[in-house]
Every structure is written in C-alpha cells, then in structure tokens.
C-alpha cells in the first residue's frame, strides 16, 4: 500500500508543475492589460510604462514565470494588483467559504443522490425508478444559476423566509454554525447540490442495476442470505466507483461555482475568480487557479488511495 501511495505522489509532481505552467500561460495569453484595475485606460503611456516596470510586467514571460514559480514554491503567491492584499490570504479565505458551501451541498447532494440511485436501481423499470430518474435528469439538466434565481424569487422575495445574498449577518468572518448563519447557506447549498445529486443518482442507479444482475448476487440469494445482507454486498461492490464519482463531484464543488457564488454573492473561490477575471488581476487569478488545481489533484490522490483501500484489486493496476 505504501509503495502504491508513494508511486501516486510521484505522479503528482509533474502534474503540479504542468498545472502551474498551464495556469500561468492561460492568464498571460488572454488579451488585456494586467494593470487595468489600477491604471485607467486614459493614463499616459509614460505612466503605464512606469507601472509595468514597477510590477515586473515588462520582463520576458519565462522570467516572470520562474520568479512566480519560485515564490509560489516558497509559499508566496504575491499580492493582488487590485487590492494589494496577499493572494494566499485572499485565496484561503475564499476557499474556506467555498468548502463550507461544498460540504453543505455534498451532504444534501450525495445523500439524496445515493437514496434516489439505490431505490431506482433496486426497483428498476418501476414507477419508483422513473420518478427517481426524472429527478436525476432534472438535476443535471436545469441550469443551476437559473435554479438559484428561482429559489431566491420564491424563498427570499416572495416568502421572505431566507436571505437572498451574503454569507451571514456579519459576513463570513463572523461565521457560526447557528440558524442565523445557516439560513444564508441553504439556498446556495441546495442550488449547488442539484448537479452532484443528479450525477450520483444516475451512477448509483446504473451500478446497482448492473451488480444486481450479476451471478454472485443470485448465488448469495441461493445461499439463503436475507435481502439486507445482499444489499450490503451490492453497496460494497458499488462503493469504489460511487466514491470516485463523489470525489470528483466534491472536487468540482470545492473549485467553487462562479455562477452560483455570484448569484448569491457568496464570498467563495468562484466569486473571487469572477472578480479576478473582470479586474485582470493576474497574480490573484494565477494564485486562485493554482490553489484550486492543486486541491483537485490532491483530492484525486486521496480518492485513489481510499479506493485502493476499499478494493485491493486497484493496487495491482
């Protein structure tokens, strides 16, 4: 197992370097002035040149990349051009808020997804299957930002039950797990959960149906095992794939949703990215993308390791 984990970690190193290079290149090949946030378009050329030199944007791109990478390896992602605040602080604060949202959405989405997937798979071809499948298809098909707006109109504007925007009465820095704060989380979490819910439902339904049709299930039943025991075997066989899918979905959610976080003004990584993109704040954009990409890479690593722990056959591949 340790050899397997070590091998996986070694695989991560080139991925991380590639991610760093790609995210640096991506943000630099986009047109636009990286100083647009602090340098009006009507500023004189002399002033523009002076500012570019001060921020190091006059250097060749490879030099800029190595300087940035070297600092990043030392834990310094630089400072936001627009705000002057350290990028790492900005990103970590935003990621913390996105993690809060992602965990809430995962609890809702995975619970419902597993429930609907299992009953749809168990009762395949019945009306129960059709209802559960319809819910799953709706989940993956409905544009989530549209759903978010509809939920806001119903529960905030019309019923006035839940707040429309924000991360608590005092902002995310004063976050607490009480009703006053959780009520801010409900609408964005429900909106975020619908796609993972739909995907998990469809995956688990398919897995359950496939496993139930395999010979070993017949053998278990022939041995006289009760249905609950058979169910347990089905679950165990479905778990690795379901876990991988849930891991990926959690990764997507931890990456934050620009649309959902913008609709709900939720101060997570999606809203941060939105702001960085519109302000052409390259250090913030690079730092955010890098941190989120690394998050995703390490989440996949964890999922791989957990999968291997559950299903020893994986270690041999």
């Amino acid at each position: 197992m340790l050899v397997y984990i070590a091998r996986r970690i070694v695989y991560v190193i080139p991925i991380v370097l590639s991610v760093a290079l790609v995210c640096f290149m991506l943000v630099h090949i986009t047109p636009g002035d990286p100083l647009v946030a602090i340098l009006p378009a009507d500023a004189s050329q002399e002033l523009a040149n002076q500012m570019r030199a001060a921020y190091g944007f006059d250097r060749p791109l490879p030099v800029q990349f190595w300087l940035w990478l070297w600092k990043a390896l030392n834990g310094d992602l630089g400072h936001s051009i627009a705000t002057g605040r350290p990028v790492l602080t900005e990103v970590l604060r935003a990621v913390g808020n996105t993690v809060t949202l992602a965990i809430a959405a995962a609890i809702i989405g995975f619970t419902l997804g597993l429930f609907f997937g299992l009953i749809a798979g168990y009762f395949r071809g019945t009306w129960i299957d059709r209802v559960a499948t319809s819910i799953a298809i709706a989940g993956v098909s409905v544009p989530h930002y549209w759903l978010g707006m509809v939920l806001v109109i119903i529960f905030s504007v019309e019923l006035n039950w839940l707040p429309a925007v924000g991360a608590g009465p005092g902002g995310s820095s004063a976050w607490g797990w009480d009703w006053d704060h959780i009520r801010y989380l409900i609408l964005p979490a429900v909106t975020t959960s619908v796609i993972p819910m739909g995907i998990v439902t469809r995956t688990v339904r398919s897995l359950t149906g496939d496993i139930l049709s395999q010979d070993f299930v017949e053998a278990l039943r022939a041995k006289g095992l009760r249905e609950t025991h058979v169910f347990r075997h089905v679950l165990k066989n479905a778990a690795p794939t379901a876990l991988a899918v849930m891991g990926l979905q959690l990764g997507y959610m931890l990456g934050g949703s620009i649309l959902i976080e913008t609709v709900f003004s939720w101060p997570g990584s999606g809203l941060l990215l939105n702001s960085a993109i519109f302000q052409r704040d390259l250090p913030l954009l690079q730092g955010t993308i890098l941190v989120l990409a690394l998050f995703f890479v390490f989440l996949n690593l964890i999922v791989d390791v957990v999968q291997a722990a559950i299903d020893p056959r994986i270690k041999r591949t």
Binding site: Q50, V165, S265
Partner: protein, 555 residues
C-alpha cells in the same frame, strides 16, 4: 438558604427596578439607523484613500471617508455639479509663474484619528503618488491618481495652512483635477509604518498601507468602523465633520458588493438591503410597483461613437459625420430600448452646463436632413457607405452596448450606412484597443469605436480626444483627430486662469467639437438606483458621485 422578609422585599424591589429599567430602554436610547447598500462592484473598492473601480470606487470609498482640496458640489439635482472649496478654502495661480498655485487650507480640520489636517498632510499626500523617494510612495495608488491630475508634479509647504503646488506646464484645470487626490492621515499611516516589522523600508511601507486600508483615516463625513475584504465595509457618521451641514443624518452605512444585477434586485425586494445601484433594467417596473423609488439623473457621461480620422476614413467628410448625428432617433432609443433610463445626447454637455457653449449644429433626429447630407456626400439607396464599429458585450458605463449598437445599425441604414459591428471583450476594448488607436491592427479595420467616457472634468471630456498631441500612444485620441483649431482652443482653455473665462474657453471648445460633429453623440447614462421608501432626503445630483449625508431612514 432561607430568604427573610427584608430579603424578599429587596428582591422584589430589584426585580421591579429591572423591569422598569427594561421598559425605559427604548425611550432612553434611540435605535441606530443603518442604511444597507448593494454596490455593483464585485469587491469593496480600495479603502486606503485612492479607490480603484472607477467612479463607483470614488463614490463609496472616496468621498465618504476622505476629502480633497477641492470637491464637487453634489447638493442639487437640477444644476450641473461644479467645483467648490473642500479642504482648501481658496486658491490662485501665481501671477508671475503660471505653473505655481497657492492653496489656503481650511483651519481646524482633523483626521478621524484626531491628528490635524495641515500643509504637511497635503505635501505628504502629494508625495504618496508623485515622489518615488518618499517612504509613503505607493505605486499601486499612482495609476488611479496621477492619471487624473496629469500635470501636477510636486507640493511645497509655505506655512501650516498654505501650500504651493507646481505643475509641469500652465494648467488651469488643476483645481478640477485635485478632486481626485484624497487626503489620508499621515499620522495614522506613520503609526502603522513604525509598527511594521523588518528593515526593508519598501516592505514596511507596503505593510503600513495594507494596515491603513483595514483601519483607514481621512477627514470625510464617514469613518470606517469595520471592514471585511470582498464582503462588507461599515462606515459610521463622523460627528466632528468640519462641514456641519454635511454631518450624516444616518448613524451607519453598510456597503455590500453585489455584482449580479438580479441578486441586487432580489436583495432589495426581500428587504436585505435598502438601496441598490443599477437595478436590473427588466425589474425596474416591478421595483416601482412594490413601492421602491427609482432615482436617475443625467450623468457627466457620454455613450458615443468615436470616429477614425485617419487617411481614407469615410468619417473625414463632415457631411457624413453630421448625417450620422441627425439620423438617430434618440427618444425612440430611450423609450423603446432603455425604459427611459438615458438622456439623449446632443453633445458632451447639455444646455445649462457651463462648458456647453452655443453650438450652431443642432443635434437632433432629422431624417430628411441626414439623407440629404449623405446624398450630397455621394451616397444613396444604391450606394451605401460601409462603416465598421468596435464595441463590447458589456462594460462599465457601456449601458446595453449590443442592443444599442444594433439600434444604431438599423437607424443608420435609413441614411444609407451599412454598419458592421465588431464585438470585442470589454477589458480588451477598453485597456488595449482604445489605447492603440485606429491605425493599430487591433482596430481590425474599424473606423469607429464605442467606448463610453466620463465627462466630469475637461481633460477627460474634451482634451484627451480633441488635442492632436493626445493621439496614441499618449492618450485616447483613438481616431487621430488633428485639428489646429482644437489645439489652439485647448491651449487657450488651459492657460486661462480666471474660472469664468476658463469655463467660457471650454464652452467654445465644446461648441466647436459639436459643430465639427467630432463624435456620434448618442446618450448620457442616468445612473439609476433603487431605494427603499424608508429612505428620504436623498438628492441625486448630475454627477457620478452622490452625497450620502443628506439621507435619513425611518425604522
């Protein structure tokens, strides 16, 4: 434990007192009045004195906490907003050397931290953006400041209440430009600088500014009380503000970034905020129907087409430029496309503005006259003039760029124009293409560009577009206008130091630019905002900025 009769009596009396005290509470203390505002910005504008995010930044994080030596008069909804004394009570240019200005400072003004405002503070604030050797020099504040006062080079203390400002050339616009230099507290900054660790002066300065942004100190009518980056900025009223007429009537103002228009609208309708900037246009009718108030007023803003005047451009023919200006039914655009949220433009400035002048060419909708001009220029139903305009899908001040340009496309077709629209991402259009000019490949053959502009001060409204020396790469004369008459008029306006005469010279320049049909003038934005009916006393001036001091809110 037993409680005796006396103890019981004491307990009873104490309980009664407590009840009486609780009952008296609402009478003894007035509930704090708070106005919650949803901004269009995705982040809190920088709070350290020189805000980013354009004029919305100045609106919320500039004029609230800080003052300049000069200020805009924001007291009237009807009159144009003009320059008035701020932290300087009077100023004049040196009679012998027109590059030197003397500013007398307002006495008895203190920063929010209690330190005095004086000539040292002015010099310190000029140095923060212009003197690279000063410890407080902050490159991140230079762009948004130095570009707004392009000729200021230094400041010198004459006495505690007098400073001398020097410009690189004689420039009568300096008092107008100085509204953009906000005065931050040097004493407060120095405390942060001294507290910063390390020996590197640059790093300490950066740390001091970061700390200052979290705990700012200016002289403005509002003081920072708390700040959560990207989420909220709380301001409380400055009871000791030097202009007693502008001490805020509301105790606290809470500023929340809400970049998504529908989210802002929902927050207002659900009662989560009391005021939103730029409500979703489709929701205006519903907002009104639910009892909220929509405020709008003509802003010093122009939605134009800026013409290319390079060799071979069809816009070099003044008949074509005038025809385009006469071919647009702006009232139709206002009512049919923008739900009334624009003012038809007949120039950069409208009648009543001191810089309007008396143009002979009257911009209006006159289709026969436009068609006649085009026919005189050699075009007609069978010989259309092909033109191409670059615009964006969105952008600050761009209003509804695509629908508005499509409206122009249809309208101009009636005057024998064949308009092609080249859509470019906003930041690219604004920060790259606009700067590079009509000769650059980035123009992709376009002979007009649609970038809106602020017309608050004469340099940004007129000079940078009309003066030949402002052609790329210097500034935003995108189309390379090269008219010696304009150059002469700019020079005259900049060197006329009597304010009334300067305004007259600017009015002449403006009138000449309208007579020359220098732009296709289309619309002025009206800065719509929606307020709860609980807010009263608010005045929306003809400005990008507003005065938050006058409003009150009922619980």
């Amino acid at each position: 434990m037993r409680i005796g009769i006396n103890s019981k009596a004491q307990l009873f009396a104490t309980a009664m007192l407590a009840v009486a005290a609780m009952a008296a509470l609402p009478c003894s203390g007035r509930a704090e009045s708070v106005v919650r505002i949803g901004m269009t910005a995705a982040d809190i504008p920088r709070t350290l004195g020189q805000p980013d995010q354009g004029l919305e930044g100045n609106r919320f994080a500039g004029g609230t906490m800080y003052d300049g030596l000069t200020m805009w008069d924001l007291s009237s909804a009807d009159k144009p907003s003009v320059i008035i004394p701020g932290l300087a009570t009077e100023w004049h240019v040196d009679d012998k050397d027109h590059t030197k200005w003397i500013f007398k400072l307002r006495p008895a003004v203190t920063f929010h931290d209690g330190s005095p405002f004086n000539a040292d503070a002015v010099v310190w604030n000029v140095d923060k953006v212009l003197n690279k050797e000063a410890p407080q020099f902050d490159v991140s504040q230079v762009g948004v400041t130095a570009s707004r006062m392009p000729t200021l080079v230094s400041a010198r203390k004459i006495d505690d209440m007098t400073v001398e400002l020097t410009t690189s050339e004689p420039d009568s616009f300096l008092p107008i430009n100085l509204v953009n230099l906000y005065m931050a507290s040097p004493v407060k900054w120095q405390k942060f600088y001294d507290a910063a660790e390390g020996a590197d002066a640059k790093a300490k300065s950066q740390a001091a500014w970061a700390a200052f942004a979290r705990d700012a100190s200016g002289t403005g009518p509002w003081k920072m009380s708390s700040f959560t980056p990207r989420e909220r900025l709380e301001l409380v009223k400055n009871e000791n503000y030097w202009d007693k007429a502008r001490v805020p009537k509301v105790d606290k103002m809470l500023l929340l970034p809400m970049p998504e228009p529908n989210a802002r609208t929902a927050a207002l309708l659900s009662g989560q905020v009391d005021w939103i900037e730029a409500p979703a246009p489709d929701a205006v009718a519903e907002i009104k129907q639910r009892g909220f108030k929509i405020y709008a007023n003509e802003e010093p803003h122009v939605w134009p087409w800026q013409f290319s005047r390079i060799e071979g451009s069809p816009w070099n023919d003044i008949r074509v430029r005038k025809a385009a200006n006469l071919c647009i039914d702006r009232e139709g655009m206002k009512d049919g496309l923008l739900a009334g949220l624009m003012v038809p433009a007949t120039g950069t400035y409208e009648p009543g503005h001191p810089w309007r002048g008396n143009p002979a060419f009257q911009i209006k909708y006159d289709l026969p006259a436009a068609q006649k001009l085009m026919q005189e220029a050699g075009y007609g139903p069978n010989k259309k003039l092909s033109v191409k305009v670059q615009t964006s899908t969105s952008g600050s001040g761009q209003m509804l760029p695509l629908p508005m340009n499509e409206y122009l496309q249809q309208a101009l077709a009636e005057c024998y124009f064949d308009v092609k629209i080249d859509v470019v991402e906003w930041n690219t259009l604004f920060s790259v293409n606009w700067r590079k000019g009509a000769k650059d490949p980035s123009a992709t053959g376009s002979n007009a560009i649609n970038v809106t502009y602020s017309a608050m001060d004469p340099f940004f409204a007129l000079v940078r577009f009309l003066q030949s020396g402002m052609a790329p790469p210097v500034s935003n004369n995108w189309g390379y206008i090269n008219n010696p008459k304009f150059d002469e008029m700019v020079k005259k306006a900049r060197q006329t130091f009597d304010p009334a005469e300067r305004d007259k010279a600017l009015a002449e320049l403006h009138a000449a630019s309208v007579d020359d049909a220098a732009f296709l003038y289309v619309a002025h934005d009206v800065g719509p905002r929606a307020l709860s009916p609980k807010i009263t006393g608010f005045v929306q001036p003809k400005s990008w900025l507003v005065d938050f001091s006058t409003m009150t809110i009922t619980p």
